[in-house]
Assembly symmetry: C2
Homo-oligomer: 90 residues x 2
């Protein structure tokens, strides 16, 4: 079993209107030193496989087919092995 943590970001060249909007809201609240807000996704899940290579393939499939938009976004992930009854191995 692995625990996967995926971070998805818009490519730097692509505008982030949601970030712009939140930042404007901040200025109205007097939070005025924040710049260049970019909003992405954090996705965490378990992968029920014992082989790391197979688990990486599963995560890549999940990311590229469902979680991210490959035209506009990049993703990166970490996998940590995990024994359900105990602690993280790595």
């Amino acid at each position: 079993m692995f625990k996967a943590k995926v971070l998805i970001k818009r490519r730097p060249s692509i505008l982030d209107p949601q970030g712009v909007a939140v930042e404007k809201g901040a200025q109205h609240l007097g939070i005025s030193n924040i710049k260049n807000t970019r909003i992405g996704k954090l996705i965490e899940f378990d992968v029920d496989l014992t082989d790391r290579t197979a688990a990486e393939k599963e995560v890549n499939d999940y990311c590229s087919k469902l979680l991210s938009n490959p035209i506009m976004e990049d993703y990166e992930f970490t996998l940590s092995e995990w024994i359900p009854s105990g602690e993280e191995v790595k």
Copy 2:
């Protein structure tokens, strides 16, 4: 100047219907070893302050007043000092 990276997650006790929906989609695509998908947010921005304590306060304000829903979500962040012309200091 600091670069901030904020991760926002739903509290573990709160259901994540979006995660459940995406995972069902995965099963239809034959990606069947994924469990317990939880979808959160990754937010990155610059803080235009030189004092770390002041920058931390600014990030806490931004997170608690705008970025996260304190009833349902927890946030954590890292701040790395950054000199606009050069590389990350820490």
